[in-house]
């Protein structure tokens, strides 16, 4: 199945603060980013990809219209997904992240149309130990992949560092 990226409009971040007054000392820990999909036909969202920059936890909420007569509803599809195991250290701080459809309750995201969702249920993210037979079949498939890569890799055993026998160099290049 080919993947096509969906054009979207990402608005600037808005800090969530208590009260009206913007205090200069307070540094809010929660920021909200609005993403809209203007002028797009109904689509099935498979994957969200982004690069993190020091965000520790991520929640994703989607607004879905149900039928014509009921107002739009906000549904949480990801709650407090951990991007940084320790918010005070570097791990995960600048990683590339991909989130897949199957990590949220099964739903499609047609443009403002809906599938009725019985009630808002946050996804159990920390699943505990994975199913061993599933892990073993995944590991087997990964092993098969690495074997394929290894077989196709042309190992040039003795690499040449010169060009046509010549390795006369004056200075190192800075670029």
């Amino acid at each position: 199945m080919s993947r096509v990226s969906v054009p979207c409009h990402v608005k600037g971040t808005v800090a969530l603060q208590v009260g009206d007054v913007r205090t200069s000392h307070g540094r809010p820990g929660v920021l909200v980013i609005d993403v809209t999909f203007p002028n797009v036909a109904p689509f099935e969202l498979q994957e969200i990809t982004f690069k993190n920059y020091y965000t520790a936890f991520l929640s994703i909420r989607v607004r879905q219209h149900t039928s014509m007569h009921t107002p739009a509803k906000w549904v949480t599809c990801l709650r407090d997904y951990c991007l940084m195991p320790d918010p005070h250290s570097e791990e995960g701080a600048q990683e590339y992240v991909s989130l897949f459809k199957h990590q949220s309750p099964s739903m499609t995201f047609p443009k403002w149309l809906s599938h009725p969702v019985p009630c808002e249920q946050p996804v159990p993210l920390l699943e505990g130990l994975p199913d061993p037979s599933r892990v073993s079949s995944e590991v087997q498939q990964m092993w098969a992949l690495t074997e394929m890569i290894r077989a196709s890799h042309t190992s040039t055993r003795i690499g040449r560092f010169d060009v046509d026998g010549c390795y006369d160099l004056n200075l190192l290049s800075y670029t």
Binding site: S89, A93, E95, S137, C166, D168, L169, L172
Partner: protein, 461 residues
């Protein structure tokens, strides 16, 4: 089916990300590392221009013949190396690490108790003693160790004989994973060479010997400026060392070939550094004439030859010695002189050392800071060299056993902290950096395993 495919691709993506060392491309490292690499390039270039020596040239036929004849005794050569200087020393590198800053770190205007009192200012996650105890469980008080339980007072029936027997069995089965587990308790001297080769997956096949001979031919044919740096380093360090001077010739044979080995370039896939580039003379800017310099992309620094020296006790056949060193370098040693956030990288080791000291020996840490003797300034050189040249060789080999067994360099930081803990009483009495250095100048009498065991498992925390 689709579900499984996307599961696997996510897992693979995550693994690839971790293998890349997720933060290798982090902005701060790129900036710090970029300017450091540029300094090294400039230093090498200015050496070329000052001495009017090219980076590399084809060796004249007469010189080639001469070098081939004295290949086994290059140490007898006394070239004039006075004008060459090492490209950098560990202390220069430490200055770069001290200036690393996290772009997103905010600790307020005023000094709080969370301010880093040590030299390293990057908040990387490091283990504390409970986590280290779990990680290095086999070093515990209830487990037999070589380096402790094989001392003359202990009857060999209690531990040593059985341990040797198990080692022989592991070797007979040629089980690499078992060897790695086994060696956490230390390796018997007689089995060490084979065990290390098994763990590093080194077996001397005819093609490996041929490969080494090809590298030797490359050394004969092309003369590199880096060769003079290697000569100088060996003369300054290993040749002056009581334990290693006998291996001087081996060191040239390994290091000169190492510089020509293009297979080492593949480790840059997981190293944040990049190999220096150059162009064939007269073809500046033409990509088809772009080459790496030196061919293996690694510019040696002051003390580099000490990575090889201890291995000479174990391996006497040059091509095997070479293979072992190369594998040790691309698995472990490169992390000691490049910037990354990897737990075994030198930045994490420095932070681990400082955090251990600050947490478990706060009085000592504070005292040393007050007298202007930041502990890392003393221990940095130990860790960069993986203690080679500072410990007695039998102790060093016991330490490197554990590096292989745990596949981690964190033990270097723990040992550095343990050494400070051991000499804490003397250190509390000194009043200057020079005096602190003097207390810690001679580590040759230290017994590594008891120090580690006491620090991790027997200190009241």
């Amino acid at each position: 089916m689709l579900q499984e495919e996307s599961d696997i691709s996510l897992i693979i993506a995550q693994i690839v990300q971790k293998l890349k060392g997720s933060n290798l491309y982090a902005q701060l490292e790129r900036q710090a590392w970029g300017s450091w690499e540029k300094r090294i390039l400039k230093s090498l270039n200015s050496m070329c221009t000052e001495l009017s020596i090219p980076l590399a040239r084809k060796r004249p036929a007469g010189d080639q013949k001469e070098l081939l004849n004295k290949w086994n005794e290059m140490g007898t050569d006394e070239p004039d190396l006075s004008l060459f200087r090492p490209v950098y020393a560990p202390k220069d590198f430490l200055e770069v690490l001290i200036n690393l800053r996290n772009p997103n770190y905010e600790n307020g205007d005023s000094l709080s108790f969370r301010t880093h009192l040590g030299l390293i200012q990057v908040p990387l996650k490091v283990k504390d003693i409970p986590e280290l105890k779990e990680c290095f469980a086999e070093l515990g008080l209830n487990t037999g160790q070589l380096g402790i339980d094989d001392s003359t007072q202990v009857p060999p029936e209690l531990f040593e004989n059985e341990h040797v027997r198990i080692g022989q069995k592991v070797l007979a089965e040629q089980d690499s994973a078992a060897a790695q587990q086994y060696i956490r308790q230390g390796s018997p001297t007689a089995l060490r060479a084979e065990l290390w080769a098994l763990i590093l997956n080194i077996s001397s096949q005819p093609e490996d010997i041929l490969y080494y001979e090809q590298l030797k031919t490359n050394v004969i044919q092309h003369d590199l400026l880096v060769d003079s740096l290697i000569y100088k380093d060996v003369k300054l360090t290993a040749s002056n060392d009581d334990y290693y001077f006998v291996f001087e010739d081996y060191l040239y044979q390994v290091l000169l070939c190492f510089s020509r080995d293009t297979s080492v370039l593949s480790h840059f896939a997981y190293n944040s550094a990049s190999p220096p580039k150059s162009y064939i003379r007269g073809k500046l800017g033409l990509e088809e004439y772009a080459v790496f310099y030196p061919p293996n992309g690694v510019i040696p620094f002051h003390g580099f030859s000490m990575y090889v020296a201890p291995l000479c006790f174990l391996y006497h056949e040059p091509s095997k010695l070479y293979q072992i060193f190369r594998e040790m370098y691309v698995r472990f040693f490169f992390r000691l002189h490049s910037i990354s956030s990897h737990p075994s990288g030198i930045v994490s080791l420095c932070l681990l050392f400082e955090t251990l000291l600050q947490t478990y020996l706060p009085q000592l840490f504070y005292h040393l800071r007050e007298i202007g003797a930041q502990p890392l300034r003393i221990s940095f050189k130990w860790m960069v060299r993986a203690f080679s040249g500072y410990l007695a060789t039998d102790q060093l080999l016991l330490l490197w056993d554990r590096i292989l067994g745990y596949n981690s360099l964190e033990i270097l930081a723990v040992l550095a902290a343990a050494v400070f803990a051991f000499r804490a009483v003397n250190l509390m009495e000194v009043t200057s950096l020079a005096a602190a250095e003097a207390v810690l100048a001679d580590l040759s009498t230290l017994k590594v395993m008891p120090l580690l065991q006491i620090f991790l498992f027997a200190t009241v925390t």
